[in-house]
C-alpha cells in the first residue's frame, strides 16, 4: 500500500472543473513529480492534500488517503492534526512564507513545541541541528534573525529545515525553486534531494520544469487541465514519452547544447485534441 493514495479526486470552482478524476500514488520514500503547464491543477493537488484549498474550490468526489487514513472523511480539527503530524510543505515563495514580524527560531520550533509537545530547549537544539544540516553557516545568528535579514536562498533553506523538523513522512514541495535565481536553484534542488534521502521522506514535487524532474525524481505524473495524462518512471518517460502531449512538452524544453535553436511550442493540434477530450469528459459526467 502506498503512503499517499489519491483515488479519482475531483474538484470544482462553481461549475468549472479544476481536478478531473485524478488518481495518484506516492510510496514511502519515493520522489514523484507532478508536471504540467500553468493551470493544469498541479498545485491544487498539493493544496487539496494539505487542506489549504482556497475557499471557492470544492472537492466534489474522490478519496485522499494519507498513511491509510481517509482525510476527506475526517473532521477539520482531526484532519489538521493528522496532516500536522505526517506531512509538511516547502512553499513556492520563500519571501511570503515566513512571518515577517517573528524571529526565525520560534517559527521553526513552534510546530515541535505546540503540536508535538516537545520542550522548548529540545526544540531549539533540534532547530540548530536542522539549520546546520541545510548548510546555513551561522545557525545561532539565523535563529535570532528576522526573515527580512536573510536572502531568498537562505529563507528557502530555513523553510526546508522547518519542513523536515518534525520528521514528516511526506513533503509536498510546491515549485520550491521558481522564485529563486538560477544559481541558487541548483543548490536548493541538491539540498532537497540530499535531505529527502537522509530522512527517507516521500516527496511530491510540483514543477513545470522537466530538467528539474530529471535531476531529482523517480516517478512522474503529467497533468493537463486537471486530468492525468501520463504516469511513468523518469527513465521510461525521458526515453519514450507515451502521450503526444508529453512528447511535445519534452521537445519544447530549451537545450543548452543548442542555444540558437528557436523554442518549439506545443503544437496547436495536440492542444485542440486535449480540449476536445476534456469537453467530452465534461459532457459525459454532468
Amino acid at each position: 500500500m502506498s503512503f499517499l493514495e489519491i483515488t479519482s479526486l475531483s474538484a470544482r470552482v462553481g461549475p468549472v472543473p479544476i481536478l478531473r478524476d485524478v488518481s495518484l500514488n506516492v510510496a514511502a520514500g519515493e520522489v514523484r513529480a507532478l508536471v504540467g503547464e500553468s493551470g493544469a491543477g498541479k498545485s491544487m493537488i498539493g493544496k487539496a492534500i494539505l487542506g489549504t484549498l482556497p475557499g471557492a474550490i470544492h472537492i466534489t468526489g474522490g478519496e485522499i488517503r494519507l498513511d491509510g487514513q481517509d482525510l476527506l472523511a475526517l473532521r477539520p480539527a482531526e484532519r489538521r492534526r493528522v496532516i500536522g503530524q505526517t506531512a509538511a510543505l516547502i512553499p513556492q515563495d520563500p519571501l511570503t512564507a515566513l512571518n515577517p514580524v517573528r524571529r526565525i527560531g520560534p517559527q521553526i520550533t513552534r510546530r515541535l513545541v505546540d503540536i508535538l509537545g516537545w520542550s522548548k530547549r529540545d526544540a531549539e537544539a533540534r532547530a540548530l541541528e536542522l539549520l546546520a544540516e541545510v548548510h546555513i553557516p551561522d545557525p545561532k545568528r539565523v535563529m535570532q534573525s528576522y526573515p527580512h535579514e536573510l536572502s531568498g536562498g537562505m529563507r528557502q533553506r530555513v523553510l526546508i529545515a522547518s519542513a523536515f523538523a518534525a520528521e514528516p513522512k511526506l513533503i509536498i514541495a510546491d515549485e520550491p525553486t521558481t522564485a529563486l535565481d538560477v544559481t541558487v536553484q541548483k543548490q536548493i534542488l541538491r539540498l532537497i534531494k540530499e535531505m529527502q534521502q537522509r530522512h527517507n521522506t516521500a516527496l511530491l514535487f510540483v514543477t513545470h520544469d522537466l530538467g528539474v524532474v530529471a535531476k531529482i525524481c523517480q516517478k512522474l505524473t503529467v497533468l493537463f487541465g486537471g486530468m492525468v495524462l501520463e504516469e511513468a518512471s523518469v527513465e521510461a518517460f525521458f526515453a519514450a514519452p507515451q502521450h503526444a502531449y508529453s512528447r511535445a512538452l519534452l521537445a519544447a524544453t530549451p537545450k543548452y547544447t543548442d542555444p540558437d535553436q528557436s523554442l518549439t511550442p506545443v503544437p496547436q493540434s495536440i492542444l485542440d485534441d486535449l480540449q476536445a477530450q476534456l469537453d467530452f469528459a465534461e459532457r459525459t459526467t454532468t
Partner: protein, 283 residues
C-alpha cells in the same frame, strides 16, 4: 548582511519630533492643569470681560491670553479643556480600536459566514449619517463624558473594521499562514499569533487618526452644547462662545481653534511617523 541593515540608523524625522512634541506639551499641560493654570477656569469677573492677550494694548497683567466675555481666563480654560479633549481622544480611540479590530480580524481571517454577517452589518451601520446619529445617541443617553465616548465608539468602529478586515485578508493569503495551517495549528491561534502582529502597524496608524477624530467629535458636540455641562471648559464650548463675540474679542475663538487644529494634525502626523518608524521591511 544583517549587520549592514541594522547599521542603518533611522532618524526620528521632524514629523515625529513636531507632532510628538506638541502632544507631549499638551499632555503635560492637561495633567498639571491645576498647578499650571494661573486662574480658576470657572471664576468670572465681569469687570475684566474681553481683556486682550498680553501683547496687545489694554491687556490685564496675569491674564496671558486674555479673557472671555464673562471675564474667565482663556489660558486656564484651554489647559482644563485639554484634559477633556485628551481623555476623550484616548479612551474613545482605544475602545473604538479594540471593537473594530476584533470584528475586522474575524471577518478578514475567517471569511465565510462571519465575514458575510460582519460586512453586511458594517454596510448598514455606515448608511446612518454619523453626526445626526451621534446627536441622537446623546439625546437618548443624556449628556456627559461617558455618553460622548460611547457615541464615538458606536459610530466609528466601522472605520477600523473595514481597514483591518482588508489587511487581514491580504495577510491571510500569504504562504506563512498556509504553512501555519499545515503544521496543524488552531485557527484562532493563527489569527492572534500570525495575523495580528502583522496588522499592528496599520492599527497604530488608525488609532492615532481615531484619537484626532475623537477630539474633533468631542469639540463638535460641545459646540452644539451636547457635551458635558456648559460650565466645564471644553475647546468646543469655548469656540462656540467665542463665535458670538468674534468682532470684539477674536482671541476667545482663535486660541481654542488653534489648539484643536494642532492637536488633530499632530495625531495624524504621529501615526504616519510611527508607521514609517516601525515598518518591518524598512527596519
Amino acid at each position: 548582511m544583517a549587520d549592514a541593515r541594522s547599521a542603518i540608523k533611522r532618524p526620528i524625522g521632524p514629523r515625529l519630533w513636531l507632532s510628538g512634541g506638541w502632544l507631549t506639551l499638551l499632555v503635560l499641560g492637561a495633567v498639571f492643569a491645576p498647578l499650571l493654570a494661573p486662574k480658576d477656569p470657572l471664576m468670572q469677573d465681569l469687570f475684566l470681560g474681553r481683556m486682550p492677550p498680553f501683547w496687545l494694548p489694554g491687556a490685564e497683567p496675569g491674564y496671558l491670553l486674555g479673557t472671555d466675555s464673562l471675564g474667565r481666563d482663556v489660558l486656564s480654560r484651554l489647559l482644563y479643556g485639554a484634559r477633556v479633549a485628551l481623555f476623550v481622544g484616548l479612551i474613545a480611540g482605544v475602545l473604538t480600536c479594540l471593537l473594530g479590530t476584533t470584528l475586522g480580524l474575524i471577518a478578514g481571517y475567517y471569511r465565510g459566514w462571519p465575514d458575510l454577517l460582519i460586512s453586511r452589518f458594517i454596510d448598514i451601520w455606515m448608511a446612518f449619517p454619523p453626526v445626526l446619529f451621534s446627536i441622537l445617541l446623546i439625546a437618548v443617553m443624556g449628556t456627559g463624558l461617558t455618553s460622548i465616548i460611547i457615541a464615538i465608539v458606536v459610530i466609528d468602529w466601522t472605520r477600523f473594521a473595514r481597514v483591518i478586515r482588508a489587511e487581514a485578508m491580504t495577510q491571510g493569503a500569504m504562504d506563512y499562514v498556509a504553512s501555519a495551517q499545515v503544521t496543524g495549528h488552531k485557527r484562532i491561534g493563527i489569527m492572534l499569533l500570525e495575523i495580528l502582529p502583522n496588522v499592528l502597524p496599520t492599527m497604530v496608524v488608525l488609532l492615532t487618526l481615531e484619537m484626532g477624530i475623537a477630539v474633533i467629535v468631542e469639540a463638535i458636540l460641545s459646540f452644539v452644547n451636547l457635551s458635558i455641562s456648559t460650565d466645564d471648559p471644553t475647546w468646543g464650548s469655548m469656540i462656540s462662545e467665542g463665535r458670538v463675540s468674534i468682532h470684539q474679542a477674536w482671541w476667545v475663538l482663535v486660541f481654542p481653534l488653534v489648539c484643536l487644529f494642532f492637536t488633530v494634525l499632530s495625531f495624524s502626523q504621529l501615526g504616519e511617523g510611527l508607521k514609517d518608524y516601525f515598518d518591518p521591511v524598512l527596519r
